[in-house]
């Protein structure tokens, strides 16, 4: 394969694998979008779950987020990376076999997710819900991808790496680190595990992961794709090479620190929250560096914006990226977070990014790639333009309705009147107020999907009229052996030719923030004073907790009371570190579609919960919470409790050996007692064996397990 700079070799790029990933992208876009639409409709009209447990909101939402991130965006990234890397490196992928294993492995993982999530097998950590065997599969497939990618780099015919490749490298190494660290868990059975981290540690590791899944799965790879496809489509040079360098390194170094902005005003120590906030603010300019480099690349070809749908999609995508990355730092300011956190504003923010940036950039790439790969013209430019406009309206409608809903609800939650009382003490009032906006959101999502279906039709017709493929040989020359000028060997330019050094520096850049933030928190639980330590859950409560996790109650309910006056009036004293020190996984939640549950224990009689779980509207008219009738049909899994207790004991929860050995018996005994109590209050006889009993036991235990470090704050009654 050696060739000097003058002679060329003829090679054929592996475009087949790109086509496979493109088709998978289109299929899973449909799955992700329709799951999202169904979830949106359920919040406006709960019976849309058809009373099927597999479709109830708590299980559907993880399916939607996983499909959107890993199936839709994931396949799109792989398509773009496999296509552009071969061309930027002037070589075929390292191994066709690894490419195929990567493709099929990834699709199998998606299939496994699509089966297990609706069945309720979930770790309840957002975007990391999949259970441990699937976690291992993800690791293996990711390593295969990495070997294939770095193998291709090793065989390149282009000495220097273009900026797109820097972003791909950052993606591959960082996602590997994030996934492995966040997924360290101890199996209880084939589809159940407990994380090694507890409470506050789990929260910090999870949001370090969750935030950087956005950074390194939905941002860096897409920036890489932008850097390749946008100048290609516009046929213009990139605006500034120097800006590429600065914003790349700044982004990679700063992003990783920002995770704690998901945990502002929680029991996470103030110093970690402060770091999360200031690094988010410093992230603004590096993010905008990418936007500027994208938009200014189009200088001189703005006329294309009128005529070329691909450019339309690019410009909108990059603009939405700029909007989302301005809003992100804004939401990380503590006082803004106090208003926006737990509300639909965050949902709006995410979808500005997901639909506007990831969605539109993917659509731009597909409209660019499909005709070229299949060797034909796009079936209809008009339809693509139509797609752009309905899609654009859809994103705008989605974003605006959710921002208004979020701010409205946030203000209602925080409102306190002159007598020191909540103006809207009844949570449901704040829900009913925003239901019209939930309809607007669902409608806007529908518009976005209409656009997507138009694209699907357009691209299928494009593919169908493609001519029979002949092999397409390209002539490439290698510059690997040419002598470099001394300037080419120095500084960043020199680094761009040194793959291992570049990769190591990237790893160091992301490890710095990670270690500084995570390491100290690993020991925080040790400092909880003995006097305020928690009683761990009883076996029955633990069984209930695992049902709470299975049903995805955490997607609508937080268990974390913030130190804000309105919050203390509504829910009680602020949550403490001690209160979640044995929580594996933590259940702090990130969204309050329903009220906080951290101190729900003993607030209502047992029978109230029974009736509420069977049909929330029985006790709270207009509630949008799903009904859970199957909890009275399904039998509690008492047998696994001994194993669960022993795993937790090994992880450091202070259960005695006797408690472990008798976990199941004790749970049955407690269940009998609670069932009897329920019956005395008027519930159906003999519920002992059914899941509703442990769930009620768990709910009644919330907030009742620990002596508070701070005395409960009395509410200002003024008597």
């Amino acid at each position: 394969m050696k060739s000097n700079s003058l002679s060329y070799v003829e090679i054929e790029y592996d475009d087949q694998i790109v086509k496979m990933f493109i088709i998978a992208t289109m299929v899973f876009a449909g799955v992700a979008f329709f799951a999202g639409l169904l979830a949106a409709v359920q919040l406006a009209y709960w019976p849309a779950n058809m009373n099927l447990e597999w479709l109830s909101f708590g299980r559907l939402r993880p399916l939607h987020t996983n499909a959107a991130i890993f199936a839709f965006a994931g396949n799109a990234i792989f398509a773009g990376i496999y296509h552009s890397s071969q061309r930027l490196l002037k070589t075929r992928m390292f191994s066709d076999r690894l490419s195929r294993i990567h493709f099929w492995g990834w699709q199998l993982i998606i299939l496994a997710a699509a089966i297990t999530l609706p069945l309720g097998y979930s770790q309840s950590k957002e975007y990391a819900e999949l259970e441990w065997p699937i976690d291992i599969a993800i690791t293996v497939v990711w390593v295969i991808f990495a070997v294939n990618f770095f193998g291709t780099l090793a065989r390149r015919r282009e000495r220097h790496m273009y900026v797109a490749l820097w972003f791909y490298i950052a993606t591959i190494v960082t996602v590997a680190i994030l996934h492995v660290v966040n997924s360290i868990e101890i199996p209880v059975s084939w589809l159940k595990s407990y994380p090694v981290y507890a409470g506050i540690q789990d929260a910090l590791v999870q949001w370090w992961y969750g935030h950087n899944a956005v950074a390194f799965f939905l941002t860096t790879p897409f920036l890489g794709l932008m850097y390749y496809y946008l100048p290609k489509a516009a046929n213009r040079p990139v605006y500034s090479y120097r800006l590429s360098i600065i914003h790349f390194w700044a982004l990679v170094f700063i992003y990783i620190w920002a995770g704690p902005h998901h945990l502002l005003y929680t029991s996470l120590p103030d110093w970690a929250q402060t770091l999360g906030m200031i690094f988010s603010i410093m992230l603004w300019a590096p993010s905008w560096g990418g936007m500027i480099n994208g938009l200014l690349t189009l200088r001189g070809s703005w006329h294309l914006l009128r005529t070329d749908p691909v450019i339309k999609f690019f410009v909108a995508a990059v603009t939405f990226y700029g909007m989302a990355t301005f809003e992100g730092p804004l939401l990380s300011i503590k006082s803004v977070s106090a208003l926006g956190h737990y509300t639909d504003w965050i949902i709006g923010h995410v979808h500005g990014g997901a639909l506007g940036w990831n969605g539109f950039l993917t659509f731009a790439m597909l409209y660019y790639l499909v005709p070229r790969l299949w060797g034909t013209e796009l079936h209809s430019k008009k339809l693509a333009t139509f797609h752009f406009w309905v899609g654009f309206l859809g994103v705008l409608g989605y974003y605006l309705s959710m921002v208004v809903a979020g701010i409205t609800q946030g203000l209602m939650w925080l409102a306190i009147d002159g007598q020191g009382r909540l103006v809207y003490p009844d949570f449901i009032e704040t829900v009913v107020r925003i239901i019209p906006l939930y309809w607007v959101r669902a409608f806007s999502g529908g518009l976005f999907i209409l656009g997507f279906l138009t694209m699907l039709y357009n691209l299928i017709l494009t593919i169908r009229r493609a001519p029979k493929q002949q092999s397409r040989l390209v002539k490439v020359t290698s510059n690997m052996d040419t002598l470099l000028s001394s300037e080419e060997q120095k500084g960043h330019r020199g680094l761009e030719g040194l793959v291992p050094t570049f990769t190591v520096l990237t790893v160091l850049a992301v490890l710095a923030g990670s270690i500084i933030e995570i390491y100290p928190t690993l020991f925080l639980n040790n400092y909880v004073p003995k006097s305020s330590q928690l009683q761990p859950h009883t076996a029955l409560e633990l069984a209930g907790r695992d049902i709470y996790i299975r049903e995805g109650c955490y997607v609508c309910h937080s268990q974390q009371i913030r130190p804000l006056p309105a919050e203390v009036l509504r829910y009680g004293a602020p949550s403490t570190i001690a209160e979640s020190m044995y929580d594996r996984p933590f259940q702090w939640g990130s969204k309050r579609t329903g009220p906080d549950l951290a101190r729900i224990g003993k607030k209502y009689p047992d029978l109230w919960h029974l009736r509420h779980m069977l049909d929330p509207r029985e006790v709270t008219p207009n509630s949008i919470m799903p009904a859970y009738p199957w909890l009275l049909r399904k039998k509690t899994d008492f047998l696994s409790l001994r194993k669960k207790f022993s795993v937790l004991q090994n992880l450091g929860v202070p259960y005695s050996t006797e408690e472990v050995a008798n976990a199941d018996l004790q749970a049955v005994k407690d269940a009998k007692h609670l069932a009897k109590q329920l019956m005395d209050q008027g519930a159906p006889a003999d519920l002992t064996e059914y899941e509703i009993v442990p769930l009620i036991a768990y709910l009644q235990s919330l907030g009742q397990k620990s002596k508070l470090e701070i005395p409960p704050l009395e509410s200002p009654k003024g008597d």
């Binding site: 273009y162 603010i281 560096g289 002159g418 006056p565 209502y604 008219p621 008027g682």
Partner: protein, 192 residues
């Protein structure tokens, strides 16, 4: 592309070229200012001069309490509730109607649509768990609740007028005979 004044770098990747433009000045300033702000905020925080979140909370709670005390005392002086003042409410249909609405929204889930008792006790029989069933007895229990038994305290949830109205509604229903009354709880007092 001959009209370009900017200089291109000599890089070329698959036909993509790059300009050698400097960093946009306003961008660079934005970046530096956010770094400067963050640094100062960091010092402010880590030097210990910033209040902790719990300190902030306590400050705002005590402000709220002070304000509330001022308003509440004024109200108490203006209109202390008595058996007589409450009894007058029975004649005012708008008050009783308001009470009916509130009862429907807040109390039905536990006391039943006909006040016959469900999770909570029957409110139209002659038995009372708390007090003698007098105006002020009912008013007190509705305000304060019995948290450990599952009766929520309504003082923080409802306005003073609303609580009076719902109590008036309960009293107005005395002597009605629901179809499936809950078994009596508490002591037989009779109708005062």
């Amino acid at each position: 592309m001959s009209d370009e004044k900017e200089s291109l770098t000599d890089h070329e990747y698959d036909g993509i070229r790059e300009f050698d433009n400097p960093l946009p000045t306003w961008w660079l300033w934005t970046f530096l200012i956010t770094i400067g702000f963050s640094f100062i905020y960091f010092l402010h925080f880590f030097s210990g001069s910033a209040p902790t979140q719990i300190e902030e909370l306590n400050t705002s709670l005590s402000t709220i309490k002070k304000q509330a005390k001022a308003t509440n005392t004024k109200e108490k002086i203006n209109s202390p509730d008595t058996e007589e003042s409450m009894a007058q409410l029975l004649g005012q249909t708008t008050v009783v109607d308001l009470g009916r609405e509130i009862f429907k929204a807040r109390c039905v889930s536990c006391h039943g649509p006909e006040l016959q008792g469900l999770i909570g006790p029957n409110l139209v029989d002659e038995y009372w768990l708390h007090g003698q069933g007098r105006w002020l007895d009912i008013l007190t229990i509705v305000k304060a609740g019995v948290l450990e038994k599952g009766m929520p305290p309504w003082e923080a949830m409802l306005q003073a007028d609303e609580i009076r109205a719902v109590v008036a509604f309960i009293v107005s229903q005395k002597g009605t005979h629901p179809k499936n009354p809950k078994a009596p709880q508490g002591e037989k007092i009779g109708n005062p």
